[in-house]
């Protein structure tokens, strides 16, 4: 595959992530902050998101596993996860967190457990997608090409 083909593949893949709602405008905002002097910016931010999310998902498991669930704590964890997913544009994770918080308010353990599963699922999906995207980017760069700039309007 030549660089041009790889770039088209990257564009198509990125577009699909937006169309399917995995990513939103905030992700584009982050890409705009990347340049030749900070070529790894998006990867670095997303890595922090992965680290944070994994920690928070563990904490959520633990909190919901207790005899007497502390819903304030659960809500605090979900709030953090909602914040970081929103900051990188992981739209579906963010939306799953919003739904989760509603059930925290209701103090419904069963519903919260279901929400947690949903959030985990969305997280795994977007993690996979982003890792694929970054691999495509690495291939383009390794072949001497540059990452195209995404624009809204598709």
């Amino acid at each position: 595959m030549d660089v041009g083909q790889m770039q088209r593949q990257w564009l198509d893949y990125t577009r699909s992530l937006f169309i399917e709602g995995f990513l939103d405008n905030q992700f584009l905002q982050l890409q705009q902050l990347q340049d030749e002097n900070n070529p790894e910016f998006v990867v670095e931010v997303v890595s922090l998101f992965f680290d944070d999310s994994e920690r928070l998902l563990k904490d959520l498991n633990f909190a919901l596993d207790q005899q007497g669930v502390d819903f304030k704590k659960v809500d605090a964890h979900v709030h953090q996860l909602k914040g970081s997913s929103s900051s990188i544009g992981a739209q579906r994770v963010k939306n799953a967190c919003i739904a989760f918080r509603n059930f925290c308010e209701d103090q419904n353990v069963e519903a919260c457990l279901r929400c947690l599963q949903q959030v985990k699922q969305e997280y795994c999906l977007v993690k996979n997608k982003l890792e694929t995207l970054f691999r495509l980017e690495q291939q383009i760069v390794a072949a001497g090409g540059s990452i195209p700039m995404m624009e809204l309007g598709f």
């Binding site: 709030h79 909602k82 809204l152």
Partner: protein
């Protein structure tokens, strides 16, 4: 006390010749990284801390009112941008502490939050926050805020600027903004003079 405050104020005009030094406060790793980048792109010197407590320590406000060994030139902060919801000391509590300090109350404070709660916005502005930004914060938000602070510092020469009107904030953002329909909420009114 008054003499020291005067000394501090006299130094303010130098800001327009140099970069703004912004102290950013956020408990989220992700958000700290993003705000740091946004500020660097906006040509600011940035110090990032992860809590209100650390922010106060940095300013020298943790122990008493003033730490006389502070080197004002290197540490002088021209703007504080803080997240609202943080464990321990919230951004609101940090805002209050800063505005209660005779030395640091002149530093503009901008509060950031992912939650668009009117009462929250109002209380921050009442308490003296310069602006309330909705997260996720965009480059256009940061540029607008830093441009305003730079202009304000240059013009006023140390004194508090006049009341800003809403229209002052509706400055077209720079070309880096992608989406024309930015949902950032921005409500500003002058707090106390």
């Amino acid at each position: 006390m008054a003499a020291t405050a005067d000394l501090f104020i006299q130094r303010l005009p130098e800001v327009s010749a140099r970069e703004l030094h912004v102290l950013a406060v956020d408990d989220s790793h992700v958000d700290r990284k993003v705000i740091e980048r946004l500020l660097k792109i906006s040509s600011c010197k940035v110090t990032v801390v992860d809590s209100g407590t650390r922010a106060l320590q940095y300013l020298g406000l943790d122990g008493g009112e003033k730490n006389s060994s502070i080197d004002f030139d290197s540490m002088k902060v021209n703007l504080i941008m803080t997240d609202y919801s943080m464990p321990g000391m919230t951004g609101f509590e940090l805002l209050k502490k800063i505005k209660e300090s005779s030395i640091f109350r002149e530093i503009p404070v901008v509060v950031m939050s992912s939650e668009n709660i009117l009462t929250r916005i109002d209380s921050c502005l009442e308490e003296g926050a310069e602006e309330f930004l909705l997260k996720p914060v965009k480059l256009s938000d940061v540029k607008r805020v830093t441009d305003f602070i730079m202009r304000g510092e240059g013009m006023k020469g140390g004194k508090r600027s006049q009341k800003r009107r809403r229209s002052d904030d509706c400055i077209p953002s720079l070309t880096t903004e992608l989406s024309p329909l930015s949902p950032s909420t921005l409500a500003s009114k002058k707090s106390k003079l």
